[in-house]
């Protein structure tokens, strides 16, 4: 947990509007599902840091257990959607970027990795890689707009988890939403880990609820500080669950970004 100047090792385009950036970076420990906040420009416009999930952790020795120890580098997978990510995509190796993190709670460790169903939509794939690397089992259901976007899956192969695709136009795998794949994967003791657009997470949470299985979602929200002080990234908690007070706001950056789907008031998302 620190704010430090990092150096860009590479910044590659890996699909239309999708980039992968590696930064030299040191930290004590990183858990799958945590994120960093990058200062995309030293200038004052854009002013705020931008949050990005930790896509890959570079460690001297792979290590064991659920978390990654003493990384020497970090990778992010990002989608160019606006001003900040556009500036990021123009950065060259050797340039310096300030990194704040690792931040957030990350995914809880499952009892049995084989029961895990990972559900990712678009760039929501990012936090799933460290998770898959740790689990070395389970299934990943990945939804994208079309075939071209599924290129970003490279890196998941050979990790020991099955991968199934869903694309809006059916250009790769199932034609339709990724939730269309979820139904026949759910077993009584399945556990879902999901990251993607809010509507997708909502649908996944509902299916998990109906099936009576646990579901953890990684949420997004506009952020200013990333460390729980500006109170800008609030999401409303569901009526009393897991000890949360009803209607109270939770902070995506410090209470999350990963939440038990039962703890979220989905009507407000």
């Amino acid at each position: 947990m620190q704010s430090s100047q990092s150096t860009i090792v590479y910044n590659k385009k890996i699909a239309d509007n999708y980039f992968k950036m590696r930064l030299s970076w040191s930290a004590l420990e990183v858990r799958p599902g945590q994120f960093v906040m990058l200062r995309v420009s030293d200038g004052l416009d854009p002013l705020l840091r931008r949050p990005f999930g930790i896509f890959n952790v570079i460690c001297a020795k792979r290590g064991t257990g659920f978390s990654f120890k003493r990384p020497t580098g970090v990778e992010i997978l990002y989608h160019v959607v606006g001003k900040g990510t556009a500036i990021l995509s123009s950065k060259k190796p050797g340039e310096r970027i300030n990194v704040l993190g690792p931040l957030g709670n990350g995914f809880p460790e499952p009892e049995d990795a084989r029961n895990v169903i990972m559900v990712a939509g678009g760039v929501g794939l990012a936090p799933m890689l460290p998770l898959a690397q740790r689990l070395k089992a389970g299934v990943l259901l990945f939804g994208a707009r079309h075939k071209a976007d599924t290129k970003i899956i490279a890196g998941f192969s050979g990790l020991g988890c099955r991968i199934r695709f869903a694309t809006d136009d059916g250009s790769r795998g199932f034609k339709g939403f990724v939730t269309g794949l979820l139904a026949d994967e759910i077993k009584p003791d399945s556990v879902i880990y999901a990251c993607g657009p809010a509507p997708m997470l909502k649908a996944v949470a509902l299916m998990a609820h109906r099936a009576g299985i646990r579901c953890f979602v990684s949420l997004e929200s506009a952020m200013a500080c990333g460390i729980g002080v500006c109170l800008g990234c609030a999401v409303k908690a569901a009526p009393l669950q897991a000890g949360y007070e009803a209607g109270v706001f939770r902070m995506v950056c410090s209470d999350g970004p990963v939440f038990d789907s039962m703890d979220i008031d989905w009507d407000t998302l």
């Binding site: 002013l47 500080c225 609030a234 407000t268």
Partner: protein, 319 residues
């Protein structure tokens, strides 16, 4: 305070006394405070900065009862700034005293509690409980938060309302009282004179400026609260101007706030008439911003062989 002042004095000796300044009876090792609502309750920044090198820590605005705040989205970025409509979410005075004050008491850095309410009594009750709890060096009265539809805004734009609440709090406690003004008035000098007459020990200006950002595709405001408070470098020239205007009538020390990112920015406020400054939004860009700002002011004082005290209001106008 005395108990607190001694060790600080030592630190001042070491750092050289160029930076130390006394405001409303508070001895500060340097003039750089952290602005309310941008520094949490202090502890969140412990991993990122040296809390003992900050002039004073002003905690998130506190109300008598806990508040849940506004629905999301609560923030949006603007050119060189941001809007926030947090809705003054806070744990409430009692929880603050129970859960947060322990950590803060261990610091040598003076802690200032920022308070607000919807009635004069709310303000006074919050002020009394914080004084009784001990460990709080002073109070900053927020009469200027533009985010909450009820309360705040009225106190901040009407000199009579402002006078009422400040006088009541002033009479209710012995702690130093700082009044934080809203920029959303035709003539800031009128407000300065009003709260001075009510007995405030110092004045912070400015709070955020009401703003609106529209999501053109959705044809809706970006913020759930429609209006938010504009902060960041965008408002700095406005804030410096208001400090300068306030200085022309003020008898009590002024504390400048608005878009301070660097020592140079802080010095603009000091030269315009502020005895101290607050770093706010900059804490989000760099959690070490306040300490770096103080260090930069120290360099300036060394380079110019001067002290912060000598720089307050030292800007010359006219040929």
């Amino acid at each position: 305070m005395i108990k607190k002042a001694k060790p600080k004095a030592k630190i001042d000796k070491k750092a050289g006394d160029a930076l130390s300044i006394e405001i409303a009876g508070l001895k500060l090792r340097n003039p750089v405070m952290t602005a309310s609502g941008t520094f949490g309750y202090g502890s969140e920044f412990a991993p990122y900065t040296n809390l003992e090198k900050i002039g004073a820590i002003i905690v998130k605005g506190l109300s008598l009862m806990a508040r849940q705040g506004n629905p999301s989205p609560r923030i949006v970025e603007t050119p060189c700034g941001m809007l926030n409509a947090i809705g003054l979410q806070n744990v409430g005075v009692e929880n603050f005293i129970r859960d947060k004050l322990l950590f803060l008491r261990m610091l040598k850095t003076p802690v200032i509690a920022n308070i607000f309410g919807e009635t004069v009594d709310d303000y006074c009750e919050a002020a009394k409980r914080l004084e009784a709890a001990g460990g709080v060096a002073g109070l900053e009265i927020n009469i200027s938060c533009p985010n909450v539809k009820k309360g705040g805004i009225l106190f901040g734009t009407d000199p009579h309302e402002a006078h009422k609440v400040v006088k009541a709090v002033r009479d209710a406690v012995k702690l130093p009282v700082i009044t934080k003004l809203s920029p959303n008035v035709t003539d800031i000098r009128v407000m300065v004179m009003a709260v001075e007459d009510a007995g405030t020990d110092a004045i912070t200006l400015i709070n955020t400026i009401p703003g609106l950002v529209v999501d053109v595709e959705r044809r809706r405001p970006v913020l759930a609260n429609v209006i938010g408070g504009l902060s960041g470098p965008a408002i700095r020239p406005i804030a410096v101007r208001m400090v300068w205007e306030a200085k022309s009538v003020a008898k009590v020390p002024l504390i400048g706030s608005g878009g301070i990112i660097s020592a140079n920015d802080a010095l603009e406020f000091i030269l315009a008439g502020a005895s101290a400054v607050q770093v706010g939004t900059a804490n989000f860009l760099d959690p070490d911003a306040a300490v770096k700002t103080a260090a930069g002011i120290a360099d300036y004082c060394k380079r110019h062989r001067t002290t912060v005290k000598a720089l307050v209001g030292a800007m010359k106008t006219g040929q």
